[in-house]
Subunit: 343 residues, 2 copies
Amino acid sequence: MNRIKIAQFGLGPIGIEALKLAAQQPWIEIVGAVDNAADKAGRSLTEITGAAALDGLKVSRDLEELFRETPPELILHTATSSALAALRQMRPALEFGVSVASTCEELIFPSLKAPQLVKEFDGLCRHTGARVVATGVNPGFVMDVLPVCLTAVSRAVDKIEVTRVVNASPRRQPLQAKIGSGQAPDSFREKLLDGRAGHAGLRESLALVAHAMGWKLDSIAEVGEPVVAGREIRTQFFHVRPGEVCGIHQRAVGLIGDAEKLVLEIAMYLDAPDPRDHILVIGRPPLDVLIQGGVAGDDATVAALVNVVPQLLAAAPGLHLPTDLALPRWSSGVDAASRKPRV
Amino acid sequence: MNRIKIAQFGLGPIGIEALKLAAQQPWIEIVGAVDNAADKAGRSLTEITGAAALDGLKVSRDLEELFRETPPELILHTATSSALAALRQMRPALEFGVSVASTCEELIFPSLKAPQLVKEFDGLCRHTGARVVATGVNPGFVMDVLPVCLTAVSRAVDKIEVTRVVNASPRRQPLQAKIGSGQAPDSFREKLLDGRAGHAGLRESLALVAHAMGWKLDSIAEVGEPVVAGREIRTQFFHVRPGEVCGIHQRAVGLIGDAEKLVLEIAMYLDAPDPRDHILVIGRPPLDVLIQGGVAGDDATVAALVNVVPQLLAAAPGLHLPTDLALPRWSSGVDAASRKPRV
């Protein structure tokens, strides 16, 4: 089997998990990883990940150093939520003709935050033969790709509403921190308002669905509020007292004139009851889709990232939206490696 | 706007509904229809469909007659459940380089019933520039395309189970007849056994999902049983007495060794309570997806057929599986017509 050579960019918790999952695939050959953190660069990948399969590989400080060793065909990128930062980080790979699959939230629909760079990077990719796409569970699946897929059986779509409720208590520390666990409501509300805290990518999901529906939205309104603990909550990482923040509640609405066409709502807090993803397609026929328990965040995100690899390499060179690629699916790998890049 | 020229093949209830839906799309221009039935050929399309927009168009007896008038770019085909019959019917179109989107159930995965023809027709399409795909709600979406899409967020997939419960009471007459309404259980059971009655396409859905998962099944087992009315049931079309058939219950299982990897179950009967589609992906993470009320059959089938047009014309020439195309979606048409064929 001709395996796809892959390197990991970013060795935070998600990056390490993605690297370990990728290393288990028979159709993937891991050739390296990049992280410029002082406590990671130069160290052994087996030491950082605990994966014996990565024996002999070291963490490179940057892409240039990685490319001097074994150039990969594709990079898994899990290093930032910012589209601007992500595109800057991956530029050396794209110039080299190396494709990138990313979990960068804003890159799900990059025209929103980096409109000037989209054309430039798409042109760069077409020139070098590289492909870029971002994916994940949210953004990247439950609030955008999946609702779009459901409308395949719609004669008419008037409005789409998605509600995601996540119980953050069993999740990793950075996520519990991101949602404000243990902070004072007033100061956290300010952070939510100016974008220093909260869930990234809600606007991007909304813009992506609008784009797929062919809707030109007149405006996108987003509001975010802390969820305040009514009782004491203890997790593995936080001890939250009554009156302190235990999570977030965000809502984005896309309007055409006065009509709400898209409503995306996410509530992510400690001890949230009845976690779920709920998609309503209001149209003909009406569709009411409930994912009971919700799609688990971290497992699903690294899965989406590894699964998109064959789809991305089979696409034409360029900057892609996740809704542009072939129907997504689990890449069991039986024929994944045969989907080689076509330039 | 450069509209896509489309003709309808088959003017049964689904064909008429598909034609009317297609005629409403700003990106579609209807150029004709084909049906060789004595009570249809030669008649006005407006007369048959009631759609004023089809004024001036007549029903052709066959594709050759249609092509002498205005050749379409694509044909909507709703004339048979048999893959062999469908391929024979569409051959003149494919030879002419005209693409076909079909609701033919067996064509969802044609290798099952027409393995010899798949290679031949794929070659023919590549030669002439035509594309073929089959779609629908079931087969074509709830039991195959949608479960495959859900596994996009799966690290591992061990087994997939789909249950579809349809209340047939409000449905069209041919469907109520197909499920045996009012027949005697013993004789209907025989018809189910030798394939003269029942839901077509369950095996095809199963084979399509297995193919997408990269699973080589050792066997497919299918069983079908009549559902017998416990009380009197009256619909617009049938009067069923206790002890008579009021529907069907079919189950297909795909095995690798002794392990059940795929279980598809459909219960379609008069007055069925709690209609729903329920998809379980047993794996990591586990996914439990409930479509409350189920996806309505006829509306969804014609929608899937019209929606697939831009996706099919954007694909390479050839015989396609519905899982091979780009992420499906509602074709609002804003840019649907710009997805012109690339040969």
